[in-house]
């Protein structure tokens, strides 16, 4: 395919590859405290970017991130000692894909707040089902994850996953599928009348996004040594991911990253200093972001840049309209 040989494709990919290659040397530069922080940053970066890949263009707010993350983690806990780790990852990916397909086909016809509530309820449902299974079938709540995987291995795997995700997102942004998703986000009715099979496109992207979330959970599981349903399916994670993506700006590929870095550091400070008030502070952060930065950091940047560019080509009506939009 010729589009992949153009300089505007090769250049960003080459720059990205160089940055990731440099980041791979981080473990030899810093101690294990900072490595642990780096793992948090990269894992949130994958989750928030994957979340935005679907929710950014469609504006469907999903609170199901932790469902897939937890499925990944649990797959490792169950299969980790039975088979080789790459095979475990494969199984986790399959499990995440199947659940995402089921959820996608049954819920993506729901609109707006119903979808949000459903995805939130799904977290609770999956956690209860896993708990029920552990109590009634295996008769053992909680599992140990003893795998021969070091902190650095986890970091490298997450970094590779993030690189693949960004490349996928970049290719998607220039593909018909990615364009279809943007049209759906703008006006679903128009999308249908343009010949787009709206349900299929949404499900495809939902599954792709869920696959990356599942793999993140699977890769990070060995870090915990012990997991139970309450740890693996903690709804707090879904909210954190949404906040990060919204702070950064979910409609640009690198937008979420701008939210992930400051917020992971902030959450680190908050959990260390105010462990008992974390939820309240998280809620405050959420409100501040939604009120003050509805378009995220990226939106803020575009807002101050765009009017200058536009007034060159159009009349005063432009400024009136963009004023209305931001109001």
């Amino acid at each position: 395919m010729t589009p992949f040989l153009k300089p505007d494709f090769i250049r960003p990919v080459a720059i990205g590859a160089a940055i990731f290659a440099a980041l791979a040397f981080l473990p030899s530069l810093v101690d294990s405290y900072y490595m642990s922080l780096a793992i948090s940053v990269v894992s949130f970066a994958v989750l928030a970017t994957a979340w935005s890949m679907f929710s950014g263009p469609t504006r469907y707010i999903s609170l199901a991130t932790v469902v897939f993350f937890g499925i990944g983690a649990y797959t490792v806990a169950v299969l980790g000692e039975v088979m080789a780790f790459p095979l475990v990852l494969l199984c986790a990916g399959l499990a995440g894909t199947v659940v995402a397909l089921l959820v996608g086909f049954s819920t993506l016809r729901l609109a707006g707040v119903y979808f949000v509530i459903f995805t939130f309820g799904l977290t609770e449902l999956v956690r209860q089902v896993v708990s029920w299974y552990e109590v009634n079938v295996t008769r053992e709540m909680g599992r140990y994850v003893f795998l021969d995987i070091t902190q650095n291995d986890i970091y490298w795997q997450l970094l590779a996953l993030f690189a693949v995700l960004l490349l996928t997102g970049f290719v998607l942004g220039r593909s018909r599928l990615g364009f279809a998703l943007r049209i759906i986000g703008e006006d679903e009715t128009v999308a249908k009348h343009c010949g787009i099979d709206v349900t299929r496109v949404k499900v495809a992207l939902f599954v792709l996004s869920a696959l990356f979330m599942t793999l993140t959970g699977a890769i990070i599981a060995p870090r915990w040594t012990y997991i139970d349903p309450v740890i693996a399916f903690n709804p707090m994670l879904s909210f954190q991911v949404v906040i990060m993506a919204l702070l950064g700006g979910p409609r640009r590929l690198l937008g979420p990253l701008l939210g992930v870095i400051p917020l992971t550091l902030l959450f680190e400070v908050l959990t260390a200093s105010f462990p008992n008030h974390f939820s309240i502070l998280l809620g405050c952060v959420f409100m501040v972001i939604v009120y003050l930065l509805p378009g995220g950091v990226v939106g803020l940047y575009e807002k101050y840049r765009a009017p200058k560019k536009r007034t060159l080509s159009t009349d005063t009506e432009t400024t009136r309209k963009s004023g209305e939009k931001t109001a």
Partner: protein
């Protein structure tokens, strides 16, 4: 006049709860014809358009295009069978620029265009509908008439056999109206078949080969514009008994 039947509607019925919006509607559209769909407000014209284009599902009846039954297919499949539409309340993709709005019509049709081919086809089409200068303006920043043009351009990008125009000429000033009428006439000369819901009488008289008039969900007249506009039943529907 070509006598081949392009679209055939029979026994079409749609109720919203207890309200019957379309009642046993029946009419044919010949290839190359412009058919005006008239009637007082609330008579079910837009509902008929929505049933043809797949935006709504019919309770009963059939919609057949070129012998192919498309009743109650999902909207994207109906679009693939050669029917494109505009909306009564104009719908553009506001954050995308004009080129992208047209590409939306090009990229998912039966013989899709993508990449450079789509870009140059979009520019060509924008030139044709008079929006070449606004190619990179976000659609939401266009004036009302330009948004209408853009919406028509997106419908044409689908290369339809049948175009549904839902009050596309409404709200234009007199000179814009003349431009609009000329544009629709040009489409007809290129062989496109059109069904238009319209209230602007000048446009109906100068463009329509035939008119179907609806009242309270049912067809009350079918004929040339002059015939139907002098039909006592039609006058009664619009103006009440005392004028008939």
């Amino acid at each position: 006049m070509n006598t081949e039947i392009l679209l055939s509607i029979s026994g079409l019925h749609k109720a919203f709860g207890g309200l019957i919006a379309v009642n046993q509607m029946q009419f044919d559209v010949h290839a190359g014809e412009i058919v005006g769909l008239l009637g007082p407000n609330g008579s079910g014209k837009t509902t008929v358009m929505n049933l043809i284009s797949g935006a709504l599902q019919a309770n009963e009846g059939k919609v057949v295009i070129s012998g192919k039954d498309i009743t109650n297919l999902p909207a994207h499949k109906i679009s693939h069978s050669g029917i494109a539409r505009t909306f009564q309340l104009v719908r553009v993709l506001p954050d995308l620029d004009c080129v992208e709005n047209i590409e939306a019509g090009l990229a998912y049709r039966t013989n899709p265009l993508w990449g450079d081919a789509a870009h140059s086809a979009a520019l060509e089409l924008l030139d044709r509908i008079g929006l070449a200068k606004q190619a990179h303006t976000p659609a939401g920043d266009l004036t009302y008439i330009d948004q209408k043009r853009l919406e028509l351009g997106r419908a044409l990008a689908l290369q339809p056999r049948l175009l549904l125009l839902d009050e596309w000429l409404a709200g234009l000033n007199p000179s814009e109206l003349q431009d609009g009428i000329a544009l629709v006439r040009q489409l007809k000369e290129e062989g496109l078949t059109i069904i238009m819901v319209e209230h602007v009488m000048d446009a109906i008289r100068s463009l329509c080969d035939r008119c179907v008039v609806m009242n309270a969900g049912a067809k009350i007249a079918d004929g040339t514009p002059d015939e139907v506009l002098s039909d006592p039943e039609v006058v009664r529907a619009y103006l009440g008994d005392s004028h008939a």
